[in-house]
């Protein structure tokens, strides 16, 4: 796409794949513009409710200084925005981490992101897609300046200072929740065990009691251990150099070993010779 193309200057620029190219610049004084690519969100397998297909706009290549609030502000010119979700890579949403307190979320990469913007009205999408290419969106305005660089880092540093009591609260809350879950789990298991005790016809499944020898844990490591034990046992019972053929075999093995080493060394030398590594000076 050539931005200087005068004919299409005031029109929206659409490229293959159904994306519309919008330009975005940091402030009004900026000389260069980023291209961002928007398209209505259309994924067949999408089932989550918070990305309704008809009202969600999918945005590619959002620069790192655009936070969710900035994007909300920028796109509200096409219609009221319901929610904005920024992610490193396109894909289905996950909200497992959202439950954790902010202290325990791992730091996000501060790179270019993709966004899912959910408008309140479906018409806003069309408005966004028909936005002319040569009218850039401006990130940082005088009314709402966006902090970058030094100001941002100082702000980040300030944010990173944790208040002890709040952190303690978060920990306590999580642990309480965790203990509760653990308890429930234990109860459930106990219940299951009880259920197994007698079925309708009066049959009782007999398992090894708790007090007796421990059953082998159901894990990979345990399986391997058992196998190793077996082989070791077998090895111990084996006779070495007992029969003549065994003795002969050992000798053969020894020569084979020497030969192998010899060959390896030869290869090494050949390689070094090829690299002229034997010139002492």
């Amino acid at each position: 796409m050539a931005p200087s193309n005068a004919k299409h200057a005031s029109q929206a620029c659409i490229i293959s794949g159904g994306f519309t190219v919008l330009s975005l610049q940091f402030s009004t004084e900026s000389t260069a513009q980023h291209n961002i690519f928007v398209k209505e969100h259309r994924v067949r397998a999408e089932k989550t409710t918070h990305r309704p297909l008809d009202r969600t706009l999918f945005v590619l290549n959002i620069p790192p200084y655009c936070s969710e609030s900035v994007i909300r502000e920028l796109f509200s010119q096409f219609g009221p925005v319901q929610s904005v979700e920024l992610r490193e890579k396109p894909g289905s949403s996950e909200n497992a981490t959202s439950k954790l307190a902010k202290y325990f979320t791992t730091a996000q990469k501060q790179g270019f992101v993709v966004g899912y913007i959910v408008f309140q009205k479906a018409t806003s999408i069309a408005a966004a897609k028909s936005h002319p290419h040569n009218v850039p969106l401006v990130v940082s305005t005088e009314q709402q300046p966006v902090w970058t660089g030094l100001k941002k880092w100082i702000h980040q540093y300030k944010q990173s200072i944790v208040q002890t009591d709040k952190l303690q609260e978060a920990v306590d809350a999580f642990m309480q929740d965790y203990d509760q879950r653990k308890n429930e789990e234990a109860k459930r298991q106990k219940k299951q065990a009880e259920e197994q005790q007698e079925d309708e016809e009066g049959w009782v499944k007999v398992t090894r009691g708790k007090g007796g020898a421990k059953a082998r844990p159901h894990s990979e490591v345990a399986n391997q251990k058992a196998l190793q034990k077996e082989t070791r046992k077998r090895k111990r019972k084996e006779l070495i150099n007992f029969y003549t053929w065994q003795h002969r075999n050992t000798q053969k093995e020894h020569i084979a070993e020497l030969r192998k080493k010899f060959e390896e060394d030869k290869q090494r030398i050949a390689l070094l010779r090829a690299q002229r590594k034997f010139r002492p000076y």
Binding site: I15, A32, N61, G111, G149, K151, I154, V162, Y178, L258
Partner: protein, 1121 residues
């Protein structure tokens, strides 16, 4: 196929090998070692007798057959080719023909030089000028090849063929041995030959341009003059050296008894002296040396014919000597001496004539390393006794005739050095963990990289004065006026006495053989550039500032040695003795105590002024200087940490006890480039956070001082109460951070600031970052449930990173801390190495831990050197290691704590899976297979670049250190070449916190919120820890544009960020949703291609670094597609 062949037995062995060799050719192309795959048939076929023998020999004689094959290959490299030999033979033929046509000239007085025309000058310093005798030119009686060439022990490079030209008897007079008459006639004769060669329009292949004063070529004698000829135009790389000799038996050998005088004092000084004439042993041996080459050749040829491996043995010995720079110059251990030594060992039956070259080398090194004195080859009653030799020479090795000491010019120091080298070589020869071949014969050992400290005497004319001061007239006469050689042994013994226990060995460079044009006068002795001395320090004694002497009543000798510096002192043990105290507070000053000693002694006893002594030992210190070179600062950090650690152990009221407290930061192992210094803060410089009492930087002020968080890992006791869930463990750890902080505040009044991942403690002006660890956490991170409900353990990055931080790094820190205790300069070498890496913008390529490991390997496996005894030599070897190690085919094994005894397993594993392993593979006892320190970086390209820059830096640095005439600015190696980069981002110096540590000190300094007065107190507001705008900026840039470009920066005060575009990213690619970072679309026809939006990216560089970036400088236009 293999099976059928195996049944044929012996005669089929050849073709099989040929077939096996074929796939290797393919492998060589790729230049990587691969595991050898042999088919079962080949491995298990019945062995032939010959093969069995070969295998057995290789197994029993060498640790591995590899060494044998390596030596064979080496010998092939140094041996002369048949073609070369033919060339030489025909050339010698031509020269012999030409020599026969030398015309007779009329007899003239010796001092009359008028017959020499055509600008040819006499190669002799005519001091004193007067000499009696007559001279005329005449064709030589005979022309013979002597020396190494006829023996076949001549080796590449620098092939020289020695030819003896016998002066006719009528030119000489039986009394010519007296008063330098013979040497003068010899010089005249050579000048006559040169004259002849230049006059006669000869074959057009000869050119006589230079004289060479050579020592130890065929024989020993300090100045056997010779005339090198080389076939003119075609620079075929060999020289023919013409030696003029007297006819055999012309002088009686007994005249040259070491105790006899052959230079009269009256003639030399012009004064009549009443004393008995002093012996002139060096002059005698120089004349004698000219008479014996033919006899020596005969002797060596006889030995050679008995022992088949003699040639190879001598060749190996020559290579060994040459790598140690022992084989050239005045008083060297030349190849001739090497062959004589071997011949001596053979004739005295110390080695048997059936031995292989390998065994010969080994035995001669053994002999050199173990024996104290070299004994004569023959003992005849009529000849001078050994004691007589020893009374006048420092090293004695008597030739087969019994008259000549072949080591006449060698100083005791040189011989000790040879012994030391031999003993050391034997030591690592037997060590299975060292690549013996490489260390023994392939590694050059220049003095600057061998000796810990080096100093040079410049302006050698000054030594004339020393001659006077030391009263050495007789010796000067003996050396025919060569005052350098005269003074050298005396200076050496003086220094040896003065330095005493401080040095293990003192060595000196051998004066190079001067070579000059036939048309200019013989050079004066003072044109020699300089004389270098190398010190091998004793790390414990070398830094001592006290020289304690005997009690006053028996201290005359001590006082004489030290002069005015010696004074009576009373010591703590009550003794009152003479003593000398040197200056030195910090360890970097103490390391230079030898410099003070040398300066003082030379000034006092040899009249050599301070300005003539150029001491190369601490020149690199300035780049890592804070107040001293960091040892003291590191020690303070370690002490403060030890205190904290003790307090943590004793902390009461924790729900679980602490099982270990370990440091995991380079400052805690003395290797932090600029160790943190305690700071006292100016609170008005900061904004104070109300709720947490933490300081926050202000925008309008310069960036505050950078406070390094010193990482400490605190392992908590295992208990059933620990949850078995990754998220829950993190929460529990956070709870521990809080409670640790509370307890430390309560019981010790430290300022603490907990967070989920760590706890910052502000103590004594240092910030410690404590991280709680639970030993089972990596295990928990690895466990997962398979869909069938089976508990499986899978390694993952998260677990590895955690293990790295909580297990490996603390272990490395404590191990290296131990290494520092053994080798006091380990830390300084690490700091220099890391400073260099930083300055060359490689900090992110080779991590701190990796760099420390590389340096550790220099100390743990120094062969063929000794462990570095000064930061400078360590740094040079670091550069050499980085640039010369064969990273592609060899693992670097760092044997921490000496835990490994055998490397074969590591090597085999390495070869077996080379491709999947990191380019720079470093194995340690805890990590034999993965090399986790270098897993992420460097990449192939970056390593190549590091290797290149290291090699260049080494070259420049060695040049500067050894050559006083170069520009003396060692910071040159710390300034990176910036022209290779595409974009340079210049930063505002005021926002670069470590600006003061920059390689070139900044002109302006900024206030960084630090008070210079007062001691830091504990229990105040938490300072700004670990805040560096540069680091934040770099992290943001890498996050955003990591796919498009690579960013480099010097973390120690660099004010420029260099950007290199990744060429791959600039190819236009089709539109793809997942690869759209900072790209724009170009539509050509139907297709849409994307390219990086460079203008916008450059704009982003400015936007993202607002307040920090000064300017963005474009260097190339490469993105223009």
């Amino acid at each position: 196929m293999e099976q059928s062949e195996s049944s044929h037995g012996e005669e089929d062995d050849g073709p099989t090998i040929a077939k096996r060799a074929k796939p290797e050719v393919v492998k060589e192309m790729e230049g990587i070692l691969r595991p050898v795959k042999l088919s079962r048939g080949e491995l298990y076929k019945p062995p032939t007798a010959e093969e069995l023998n070969q295998l057995k020999e290789a197994e029993s004689l060498f640790h591995c057959s590899l060494l044998k094959m390596q030596m064979e290959e080496l010998l092939k490299e140094v041996a002369l080719s048949v073609r070369r030999k033919q060339q030489i033979d025909s050339f010698v033929q031509n020269v012999t023909e030409l020599l026969k046509t030398v015309p007779q000239t009329p007899v003239v007085e010796l001092s009359d030089l008028s017959w020499l025309s055509g600008g040819v000058k006499v190669p002799f310093l005519l001091v004193p000028k007067a000499a009696k005798g007559k001279f005329h030119m005449a064709p030589p009686i005979s022309v013979n090849i002597i020396g190494s060439y006829p023996l076949g022990t001549c080796t590449k490079p620098g092939i020289s063929v020695d030819v003896a030209v016998t002066i006719p008897a009528d030119v000489l007079h039986p009394k010519d041995a007296l008063n330098q008459r013979y040497p003068r006639k010899r010089a005249l004769y050579l000048a006559g030959l040169a004259h002849h060669f230049n006059l006669v329009p000869n074959l057009g292949v000869l050119s006589v341009e230079r004289y060479l004063l050579c020592s130890g070529a065929v024989c020993v004698s300090d100045d056997s003059m010779l005339l090198p000829l080389s076939p003119g135009k075609e620079n075929s790389g060999f020289t023919l050296r013409l030696h003029a000799c007297p006819p055999p038996g012309f002088f009686k050998p007994s005249r040259f008894h070491p105790q006899r005088n052959n230079v009269r004092t009256e003639w030399y000084t012009g004064l009549r002296s009443s004393q008995t004439e002093p012996p002139t042993p060096h002059y005698n041996s120089s004349v004698l040396g000219d008479m014996l080459p033919a006899a020596h050749l005969q002797f060596l040829a006889a030995v050679h014919s008995q022992c088949s491996a003699f040639t190879d043995g001598v060749a190996l010995l020559k290579v060994w000597l040459r790598q140690r720079q022992l084989d050239q110059g005045a008083g060297c251990f030349s190849g001739f001496l090497g062959s004589m030594l071997l011949a001596y060992l053979l004739t005295s039956h110390r080695v048997s004539s059936t031995m292989t070259a390998y065994q010969l080398l080994r035995n001669s090194l053994h002999f050199l390393g173990m024996s104290r004195v070299v004994t004569p080859l023959s003992a005849d009653r009529l000849l001078p006794s050994l004691a007589e030799f020893h009374s006048v020479f420092q090293v004695v090795f008597v030739d087969p005739s019994g008259h000549l000491n072949m080591c006449a010019d060698m100083t005791a120091c040189t011989y000790k050095w040879v012994q030391h080298e031999a003993a050391q070589s034997l030591q690592f020869w037997d060590d299975p963990t060292v690549d013996g071949f490489h260390a023994l014969l392939m590694t050059p050992k220049p003095m600057i990289r061998t000796a810990d400290h080096v100093f040079q005497l410049c302006g050698l004319a000054q030594l004339q004065a020393s001659c006077k001061k030391l009263n050495l007239l007789n010796e000067l006469m003996d050396h025919s006026g060569n005052y350098i050689l005269t003074v050298l042994p005396f200076i050496l013994s003086l220094l040896q006495r003065g330095l005493g226990e401080r040095v293990r060995l003192l060595t000196h460079s051998l004066l190079p053989d001067p070579e000059w044009s036939v048309e200019s006068e013989a050079p004066k002795h003072k044109v020699q550039p300089h004389l270098s001395f190398g010190l091998l320090l004793n790390p414990e004694q070398a830094v001592s500032v006290l020289e304690r002497g005997p009690p006053a009543d028996s201290a005359a000798e001590f006082r004489q040695l030290w002069g005015s510096l010696s004074e009576l002192r009373r010591f703590q043990d009550g003794a009152i003795t003479e003593a000398v105290v040197w200056e030195g507070e910090t360890s970097c000053q103490k390391r230079l105590v030898p410099h003070q000693v040398i300066k003082h002694l030379l000034q006092l006893h040899a009249d050599i002024p301070e300005s003539c002594v150029r001491y190369v030992g601490g020149m690199l210190d300035s780049v890592i200087k804070v107040c001293s070179t960091g040892e003291e600062e590191s020690l303070k950090v370690v002490q403060s940490y030890d205190d904290l650690s003790r307090k943590l152990w004793r902390l009461e009221g924790l729900p679980l006890s602490i099982t270990s407290v370990q440091g995991a930061h380079s400052a805690l192992r003395y290797t932090q480039v600029f160790p943190p210094v305690p700071v006292k803060l100016d609170y008005t410089f900061f904004h104070r956070d109300k709720t947490s009492k933490c300081l926050v930087p202000l925008e309008d002020k310069p960036c505050p001082v950078y406070i390094t968080p010193i990482k400490v890992i605190c392992h908590m006791e295992g208990s059933g109460k620990w949850p078995h869930d990754r998220v829950a463990i993190r929460h529990i750890k956070a709870a521990f951070h809080i409670s640790l902080g509370e307890l430390l505040t309560q019981q010790h009044h430290y300022t603490c600031q907990p967070s989920a991942t760590h706890l910052d403690v502000w103590k004594d002006g240092f910030a410690f970052r404590i991280q709680v660890a639970y030993h089972r956490e990596p295990q928990v991170l690895r466990e997962s449930l398979s869909p069938e409900g089976l508990l499986i353990v899978r390694d993952n990055e998260e677990a590895q990173a955690l293990e790295m931080a909580t297990i490996h790094q603390p272990f490395l820190t404590s191990t290296l801390h131990g290494l520092q205790q053994l080798h006091p300069c380990f830390g300084a070498v690490c700091r220099l190495a890391k400073r260099w890496l930083g300055a060359q913008l490689f900090s992110d390529v080779i991590s701190e831990d990796t760099a420390d490991l590389l340096v550790a390997s220099l100390f743990l496996q120094p062969a063929p050197f000794t462990p570095p005894g000064s930061p400078q030599v360590g740094f040079l070897r670091f550069l050499h290691l980085v640039s010369c190690f064969d990273w592609r085919n060899n693992p670097l094994v760092v044997n921490l704590n000496g835990q490994l005894t055998d490397y074969t397993e590591i090597k085999n594993d390495f070869i077996a899976s080379r491709e999947s392993l990191p380019v720079m593979f470093i194995a340690t006892p805890k990590d034999k297979k993965v090399s986790f320190w270098t897993k992420l970086s460097p990449s192939v390209q970056m390593l190549q670049r590091v290797v290149l820059v290291a090699a260049e830096s080494l070259k420049v640095l060695e040049h500067q250190l050894m050559d006083a005439s170069q520009i003396q600015d060692i910071r040159v190696v710390m300034r990176p070449p910036l022209d290779a980069y595409d974009v340079l981002i210049h930063l505002q110096p005021r926002q670069v916190p470590l600006l003061n540590h920059a390689v070139d000190k900044p002109h302006v300094t900024f206030s960084r919120g630090v008070l210079n007065v007062g001691v830091p107190k504990t229990g105040q507001a938490m300072p700004v820890v670990d805040f560096s705008p540069v680091a934040c900026y770099l992290a943001e840039l890498r996050d955003a544009f990591g796919d498009l470009a690579v960013f480099f920066c010097d973390p120690y005060g660099g004010t420029v960020i260099a950007v290199l575009w990744k060429p791959k990213a600039f190819h236009p690619v089709p539109f793809k949703t997942s690869q759209m970072v900072a790209r724009r679309v170009e539509v050509t026809g139907e297709e849409a291609h994307t390219v990086p939006n460079v203008e916008a990216i450059l704009e982003d560089f400015r936007i993202m670094g607002q307040g920090l970036v000064k300017s963005v400088d474009l260097r190339t236009e490469r993105w223009v597609v």
